[in-house]
């Protein structure tokens, strides 16, 4: 991920700083940068969010849209469950190397990470509630993320945005009724209510996990590495923690080195402490963002208001 080239002196400065518990922007090892959150600004999607990590409006920027779709059940698929499908795309607007096929590896890595966190029962979303009629039809939630700017720590921002988007998702209500066909057999049929006022939130979205990424620099590790810190990171591990403090996923990234097992155990412990604070922070920011989007719902959504609110 490191596109930034640092001089050996700069690398040494960052590494030794981290080992002493000091970081270039004055943060402690387990502190995150400022986060700004905006929800429900894409009117075409069932839920959406934009999350930005960084000081003074410069930072990693991720936009997530959730679209729900009714899918016909085919043999071999789970009978009484809905599905969540994720995709992540790094836009060339974030870095020149993402042009063409340059972002392929990163897209695959981030897509699988998001899928690993949201794609199964570990996400907390009640997949059973997404089933409309068993063995006939179910909801598929497409979680599509667009990485607009990269300034370190993509994974955390991505999961923040995805969590906010899923929490703001409203599904149309579905009415299921039994109808007798010409042979007298009872058949289930369903109708999607198209009243925009008559929508239901996702069940279990409050249990969605948040991800914390730890970057090993020198002998120590930091949370939410900045772009410069990313360039000297030797190993990176993302831990997803649910509000119940269960660990929902762990995935290592960055190929330069491994973690000593003792450091890994320490990281898993810090993951919970950091996640507990992060979840509280998320709650406040999300409440503020939803209040804002609810009050400004009648405003025309033009390009200038879209950028201006940030």
């Amino acid at each position: 991920m490191a596109s930034l080239i640092l001089s050996p002196a700069e690398q040494d400065y960052i590494t030794r700083g981290v080992e002493k518990g000091l970081r270039a922007d004055g943060r402690g090892g387990l502190d995150r940068r400022e986060v700004s959150l905006q929800t429900n600004m894409i009117s075409q999607a069932n839920g959406s969010a934009r999350c930005r990590t960084g000081h003074l409006g410069v930072g990693t920027d991720v936009l997530v849209g959730v679209k729900a779709e009714v899918r016909t059940w085919t043999a071999g698929e789970p009978e009484d469950r809905g599905a969540v499908e994720c995709s992540v795309e790094c836009s060339p607007s974030a870095a020149q190397k993402f042009e063409g096929r340059g972002a392929d590896d990163l897209n695959v890595e981030l897509t699988q990470l998001l899928d690993r966190i949201l794609g199964g029962p570990q996400s907390g979303i009640d997949l059973g509630a997404l089933c409309i009629i068993p063995r006939q039809a179910y909801w598929v939630l497409h979680v599509d993320a667009l990485v607009l700017d990269v300034k370190g720590s993509i994974a955390d921002t991505l999961v923040w945005a995805a969590r906010a988007a899923l929490l703001s998702t409203r599904l149309p209500r579905v009415v299921v009724e039994s109808v007798a066909d010409e042979d007298g057999n009872m058949q289930s049929e369903f109708d999607v209510v198209d009243d925009p006022e008559d929508q239901v939130p996702l069940q279990g979205a409050e249990d969605l996990p948040l991800a914390v990424t730890f970057s090993q620099i020198g002998k120590r590790y930091v949370v939410d590495a900045s772009e410069q810190e990313d360039a000297v990171t030797q190993a990176r591990v993302t831990v997803a923690v649910s509000p119940q403090m269960d660990i929902c996923a762990i995935q290592k990234g960055a190929a330069l080195r491994g973690f000593p097992p003792s450091l890994l155990t320490e990281i898993l412990h810090s993951a919970r402490t950091v996640a507990r604070e992060e979840l509280l922070r998320f709650k406040d920011l999300f409440a503020a963002a939803s209040a804002k989007s609810a009050s400004g719902a009648d405003e025309p959504s033009t390009a200038s208001t879209f950028i201006g609110t940030f």
Binding site: E109, Q112, P121, S242, M245, D246, K252, G258, L264, L268
Partner: protein
């Protein structure tokens, strides 16, 4: 749409088909009921067979086309082969450090449930990346500036996804050693699945499907570094801690087997 055209010359099947009903015990049976199906202990890894150099075309006559090193690895019904080319001049070269590239492919017949397409799928790309991340920390890449080392892994038979990835990691590290690539240590990998509140080593496909959580760890025992960790599914922090410990210990046992095999290949 081709499906809408009725073929009136032949007998057509019914418009709707129904899944067959299986008798009790066939579907939904607990694969853990009454111990493990193959009689293994909970912390027992399937029997490992490994051979280095099956693809090198004989060490005495190195040719242009033959791989620099190769290995075949078998763990129960998981069968993996790997060829390593390099160090050679690569497209993605870096002036300071060598580049390690890995390509992971399932054979079309590798999986029991469905024939795999010959087009590389997203999961194969992901596993390729995982293997790179797991094995690269072991290679002395700074010893190979401007060079590229490629590993090509083919899964001949797969039985449990996490177990297959673990087998691939073990196979690559043996093939790298066979190719004479400078390494800090061999990487040994092992997978586990959660059964109730207990971790079960090296799950086969049926066990993995029933497990709510799986853990994969790649470890370099002599250097004492965990080069890869992957948890899929939910576990309590205590369970995760326990998994990291047990799995690292198991990697050390797998490592002993790999080392013994590598030593035997030199004699």
């Amino acid at each position: 749409m081709a499906t809408n055209i009725m073929d009136r010359r032949r007998i057509n099947g019914p418009a709707r088909s129904v899944e067959p009903l299986y008798g009790p015990g066939a579907a939904g049976a607990d694969p853990f009921a009454g111990g493990r199906a193959d009689g293994r202990g909970l912390d027992q890894v399937r029997a490992i067979y490994m051979k280095t150099g099956p693809l090198s075309g004989g060490q005495h006559e190195p040719s242009e086309s033959a791989a620099s090193g190769s290995a075949y690895y078998e763990q129960g019904r998981v069968r993996v082969s790997c060829a390593v080319y390099g160090p050679r001049q690569g497209r993605r070269s870096n002036a300071r450090m060598g580049v390690f590239d890995c390509e992971f492919r399932y054979a079309p017949f590798a999986c029991s449930w469905k024939r795999r397409s010959h087009v590389r799928g997203a999961d194969e790309k992901e596993i390729s990346l995982m293997l790179e991340h797991a094995v690269a920390p072991a290679i002395r890449l700074e010893a190979y500036p401007k060079a590229c080392i490629d590993a090509f892994v083919t899964v001949i038979e797969s039985d449990g996804k996490a177990a297959t990835i673990a087998a691939a990691i073990n196979c690559i590290s043996a093939a790298l050693a066979d190719a004479g690539i400078e390494m800090y240590d061999s990487v040994a990998a092992c997978s586990m699945g959660l059964r109730g509140a207990q971790w079960v080593a090296d799950c086969c496909q049926a066990e993995e499907d029933a497990a709510p959580c799986s853990m994969l760890i790649a470890h370099m025992p002599s250097a004492d570094e965990v080069t890869y960790i992957l948890q899929h599914g939910k576990a309590t922090p205590e369970q995760t801690d326990q998994a990291v410990q047990t799995c690292t210990n198991m990697c050390t046992r797998v490592y002993a087997v790999i080392c013994r095999c590598l030593q035997a290949s030199l004699e």
